[in-house]
Symmetry: D2
C-alpha cells in the first residue's frame, strides 16, 4: 500500500510492526470477514475526490461509423433489447461506465426497425445530435425524435423505439445504470415485443398537455418525481439560448457568465431536475468566448451539438467538432473555448450529489 | 342575538339568567375590555363558512361605460395613483372588497396617459378582456398588455402603466388588498412619477428569459416566491385549452371534467401558484357542456372572456356575456352552462386556504 | 376622507372637481356596486401596517376575579360550549378579537364541571399560568393541564375539558377565530355532551408516543399538518431555558440575545410551528436584562408566567406581574425589561405571515 | 457471459453470429473505448436487485476479542487515524464494505488513549453496545458515549475521541464510506492531533440546547442538513419503546406491528433522517413475538443490543445474542423471532433510496 501514500491523501502512518502476533491477528480478521481500516485509509478517504474514472474524449467521426457497422451485423429485438454501444471510461474497465454513476451510449436503429418495449428502474434520456425519423413510445405515447431534441424516459415507464423511415438513425442514450448496478436498486420488466403505438405525430400527447410555458393542466396538479414532459424541443432550447445572448447584448443580466448562455431542462411540476438522478443542460458560447475553469463533485458528460471549439480537461486541450463527447469525472477541472458559436448538450449526476448533500463546486479565477 | 340562533349554527343555549349580579359582571367585563364567548358563539364559529360577502354578478355592459366616463372626469397621477374602480361586494359595504380577501377593479387609462410607479406588499395581477396599447412596467421591464393576457405584479415590485396609443384601454386588476388591509400586512412606497422605461417591446425581458416550456436559465436557479414570468400570453393559454379538448376527442385523459378544459398559471421555479396569495386559472367549456356544481373554502372571482353561457350561483342562474364578472364567496356553490364555447378567467385566494390548511372542496353529484 | 390624509400614507392627491357629471358618475358607481380607488387609497394601502388594533395590557388581577365571578353566574354546557371570556382589543370593538387574527380568552371551569366535546376548523391551544386539576380530552386522549404547560387542540380535533378536582381552574385559550371568521374558513361540529374519557393520567397517550427528544415512532412516519404532541410540559420548557442561560454563562452561543433565552414549540414531524396559523414561544430574561426593541408584521400576544418586569409597547412602559397579558399589533414596537428573572409565554400569527410571504421584522439598534 | 443467462434476468437473446466482420467491429469498439450493451445486458439491468453483497452474520464473541487483541498490537494516532476494524461483506472482497453503500466497524480505544481529530464528507455515527468512558468531541463539543447511545458525526464536522478511563472501550462505527468511495464524493481534512476539549460532561452543549422534546432554540431556527443533536440517549430510546408496548397492551395503535415497537432517530429541525445518507432506528420485539418477513431496496445492518432471538435472512435462520451483527443486502428478505425481549439497533441507506426515488418495499403475508 506504500505507493498509495502521498501528501495529498490520508497517510498510512504508524503501521504496526510485523510480528507473529500481528500475523495471527490478521489471520483472525480474515477468518471472521474483517478488514482493518489502518491498512487502507488513503484509498477509502482521500483528501478530495480521486475518481478511477479518467477524463476522456470520444470522437463522433469514430463513433458513428462503428454504430453503422453494428447495424449490419447485430440484430435488435427481444433479449438484446437495444443496439446500443456504451462509451466505456478507460479507468473503469471492464465496465461500460462513462463514469461511476452514468452510462452513455450511441444507439442505432436501422430503417423500419423496432426496438421492443420494456421498463426499468433506471432513468433514461435520449439526445439527438443528427437525424430524424424515429419515434420513441413512452407509456404508449409516441414521441418524435428530431435533431436537437431531448427525450425523457424516467424510471419504470415502458418504452420502445421504431424507425418510420427508410434511413437509419443514431442518437445518444444517457442512463444511471452504473449507479443502479453498484447500488443494487434496479428492477426490469419486459413489455410488448413491438411498440404499442406506431403513430408518428409531430407532438406527443404529453407535450400537447404540458409544453405550454407556465401553464399546468388541472388534470395534472399532482407533482411528479420526474418531468411529465417527454420531449424538450430544439426550437425552444435554441430560442432560450438566443434570447440570453441578445439580452446580454442589451446589457441585461441573463447569461451564465459573459458570452455563455445556458439553460437547465426542468420538471414543470416542481421546477427541479427532469429526473431524480440526472441533470440535463444546454450551453452555448459565443464565437471567441471562453468559460471559466470549473470543477464539481459528481460526473459531467458533454456532447458537442454544433460549432467548433475546444475543451480543456484537467489541463489538456482537445479540439472538438459536432458529435464529439467527453466526460469530466468528479473534481476534474474543465473549461471551454469557442471558435465559432459553440453549442454543447450536458448531462450529469448533480441531482444525486445535491439531494445527498455531497455537492461542492469550485471556479478558478 | 336570538335571531342569529338557528339549527345550522352553534346554538346560544343556556344563556345565564338576567340578574343584578350578571349585569355587574358584564359591566366588569366592559371595563376591562373583555367580551364573553357565550354571547356570540354562533357568529364566531358557524357550522360552515357563512360569508357576509354575497354572490354577485357585474355586467361588463355597465362597467365599461362607467370606466369610460371616469376617464373624462378623474385625473390619474401621483396621489390617486390609479383610475381604478373597485367591484364592491354588496355584503361587505362600505368596503370596496369583492370578497373578504380579494379586490377586483376595472382600471382605465386614457390615450397617452401614464399611471406613475409605486410598489406595495400587496400582490397584483391584470387581465385583459379586450383592447391593447398599454405597457405595464414591472421593476423596469416593459410588459405588453394584450387581449387574453395575464400580467403579474407580485408584492413589492415597482410598477407603473403607460398607454402608447391614441385610444384608451381598460382592463381588470386583481389584488389581495382586503386580506392585507384586515390582516395589517401592507407596506407602500412611491417610485417614479413616470414609468422608468417607455419602450414598447412585444416581449418583456423576463419573458424572453423565462417563457420557454420546461427550460430554466442558469442565471435563475434560485426559486422565487412569485413567478418570474410577468406575462402569460393568450396564444399559449388558448393553445393549451385547445389541445385538452382535442385530446379528449381522441379519448385521452386531459380535461378537468368532460367538456371542460382548464389550466392553472404557475411559477416555473416551483410549479406552484403564481403568487403566494392568489391563484389564477383559465377555464373553457365546450358548447353545450355543463360543469358539476362545486363549492370550496375561500372566494373565487370569474370574468367571462368569450362566449355565451350562464353561471348558477347558489342556485340562481344568470346569463353571461363577454366581460361579465361574478364572485362566489366561501362555500357558495357554483356551476357553469355553456351555450357556445365558453371561456372564463378565474382567480381565487386558494393559496391562502391551502397554505394554512383551511381548504375544503365539495362536488355535487 | 381628508382627515385620513397625511404624509405617512398614500395621499389623496388630485381628487376630481365636484361637478354634476361627477355626481352622476358616483351615482352610477353606487348603482352598480362599484367604489373608486381614488376615494380611499390611503386606508387601503398604508405606507406601513397601521392596525385598528391597539397595544393593550390586561391585568391578571382583574381578569381572574371576573372569571371566578362568571363561574358562579354562567353555566357551562352544550350550546354556550365554554365559559370563556375574550380579551377584546379596544380598537376592534365590537368584536372580541385581541388582534385581527387572534383570539385570547380566560377560560374557567368549576369543580367537577365538564365542558362538552366539539370540533372546529379553528386551531386552538391552552396555556396554564396557574392551577391544576383539569384534563382536556383531545380526540379521545385525556391530557393533563398543569402550571406552565402548553396544550394543543389543532383544527378539526374533537375536544372537551373536565375538572377532576373540588377546586376551580382557569387558564388561557388562544385561537385563530378572528382570522377564520373574517376569512370565512370555519366549520364546526358537536361531539359528545360529556368528554369521552374521564381518565386522569399523568401523560396522554400521544405524549407517551411522541415526547421523546429526536425519536419518532415508526407508527407515525406520515408528517402531520399540526403537531402530534398535545402537551409541552413545563419541566421541559424550563429545562431548555435554564440550559440556554447556563450555556451563555459558559460563553457559548445559545441565547436569542444577551440575557434572553427563548424556545419555539414545534411539530416534531416537521420541525415547524405547532399549528398552521399559530406560533407559540417561551421567553426568559435574566434579572436586569433588557431586550432590544422589535417590531414585526402580524400580531403578538404575551402572558407573564413568572417574575417582575415591564414591557415597553409603542414607547409606553407598563409594569407587569404574573398572569398579565398584552398584545403588540402589527408593526408596533415592543421591548422587555426584567427586574427579576422574567418568564413570558408568547403566541402569534407568524406562520400566516411567513407562509404567505408577508413577514418583515425590524430591530432597533 | 452465457452462465449469467437465466429466466430471471434479461436474456442475452440473439447474439450476433461470430464472423470476421463482427470480430473487426468488436476490435473497433475496443480501440475506441466502447462496449456494446448486448454483450452484458443481464448483468447491467437485472429483473430485481441482485447484490454481490451477501447476507452475513458477525458474532460479537469473535469481534470483541479481535478488537481487544488489536489494542495491544496496533497504535492509534495521526495517519492511521482510528483503530477500527471493518466488517467486510464476503461478496464484496477485497473491499471492507458491509454493503455497497455502508461501512460498519468495531472501533477500540485503549485506556487514556486519544484518536486525533479530523473531518470528512462521509457521514458517521457510533453506537455503543457495551462499555463507557469515552467522549467523542464533535466540532469541539465533548459528547459522552454510554451503553445504548447513538452518537452522530455528520459530514464535514471535526471529530476525535478520547478515553477518560483506565479501561478500554469498544463500539460500532457506521459510515457511508462505500457510497462515497465509489461515487467519488469524499473530502478529508486533518484537525488537531489531540482532541480540542478533554472535558467529560454528562451532556454535550448541543444536547443541552436541543434535547428537549418539541422545543427548538430561537438561536437554532435555520434547518440543518443533519441533526444538530449529537447524541440520542438510551434512557429516551428505552422509554419510547417501553411506552409503545404498554400502549399496545392498552389496545392503542402505537407499535410498528404486533409485539414489535420501533423508533426512528430524527433531525429535530426537519423531522427527517439524522443524516442525508443514513437512517438509524431501534427495534424491540416482545418475548415470543415474530416480525413479518420484509425486503427492501438498499442495505440494512443490525446489531443485537440485548436479548435472545434469531434472524431469518434469505430463508436461513441464525441464533443471535448481544452484540451480534448482520447485514441484509438489497432485496434480501429478513425476519426476526424473539425468545426474550429482543432489542436491535438498525441502520440503513434508506435516505439515499428514498431521495433518489429508488425505494421499494415488500412484506410477505
Amino acid at each position: 500500500m506504500a505507493d498509495d501514500l502521498d501528501h495529498d491523501s490520508v497517510a498510512h502512518g504508524m503501521q504496526p510492526e510485523d510480528t507473529p502476533e500481528l500475523r495471527a491477528l490478521y489471520q483472525g480478521f480474515a477468518e471472521e470477514s474483517l478488514i482493518p481500516l489502518w491498512t487502507q485509509l488513503g484509498d477509502l478517504m482521500p483528501m478530495h475526490p480521486k475518481s478511477k474514472a479518467v477524463p476522456h474524449v470520444w470522437k463522433w467521426s469514430k463513433l458513428l461509423p462503428l454504430a453503422e457497422a453494428s447495424g449490419a451485423l447485430v440484430p435488435v429485438g427481444r433479449g438484446g433489447e437495444r443496439r446500443a454501444i456504451g462509451l466505456a471510461n478507460p479507468g473503469l474497465a471492464p465496465n461500460a461506465y462513462i463514469s461511476p454513476t452514468l452510462w452513455a451510449a450511441i444507439q442505432y436503429l436501422g430503417p423500419r426497425e423496432t426496438a421492443p418495449e420494456h421498463r426499468h428502474s433506471q432513468n433514461a434520456f435520449r439526445f439527438v445530435v443528427e437525424g430524424e425519423g424515429v419515434w420513441t413510445v413512452v407509456n404508449g405515447d409516441p414521441v418524435r425524435m428530431s435533431r436537437g431534441d431531448l427525450l425523457l424516459t424516467p424510471g419504470w415507464m415502458f418504452h420502445g423505439h421504431h424507425n418510420d423511415r427508410d434511413a437509419p438513425m443514431a442518437w445518444i442514450d444517457g442512463l444511471d445504470i452504473p449507479f443502479s448496478q453498484q447500488m443494487d436498486v434496479g428492477f426490469f420488466e419486459f413489455g410488448s415485443d413491438k411498440v404499442t403505438d406506431y403513430a408518428t405525430p409531430n407532438y406527443s400527447r404529453a407535450e400537447r398537455l404540458w409544453a405550454h410555458p407556465g401553464l399546468r393542466p388541472l388534470s395534472g396538479l399532482q407533482d411528479t418525481v420526474s418531468s411529465p414532459l417527454p420531449a424538450y424541443r430544439w426550437e425552444h432550447t435554441n430560442a432560450a439560448l438566443t434570447e440570453q445572448l441578445l439580452l446580454e447584448d442589451e446589457g441585461q443580466p441573463a447569461t451564465f457568465e459573459p458570452g455563455h448562455a445556458a439553460i437547465r431542462f426542468t420538471n414543470p411540476t416542481t421546477g427541479g431536475d427532469v429526473m431524480p438522478t440526472i441533470r440535463c443542460q444546454f450551453h452555448r458560447l459565443r464565437a471567441g468566448a471562453a468559460s471559466k475553469e470549473r470543477r464539481e463533485v459528481g460526473s459531467n458528460v458533454f456532447q458537442v451539438f454544433e460549432g467548433q471549439g475546444a475543451v480543456v480537461l484537467n489541463g489538456v486541450r482537445t479540439q472538438l467538432e459536432t458529435g464529439d463527447m467527453f466526460v469530466a469525472p468528479s473534481w476534474i477541472p474543465f473549461a471551454f473555448e469557442a471558435e465559432t458559436q459553440f453549442d454543447l448538450f450536458r448531462f450529469s449526476d448533480a441531482p444525486i450529489m445535491e439531494r445527498l448533500n455531497f455537492m461542492r463546486q469550485a471556479v478558478s479565477e
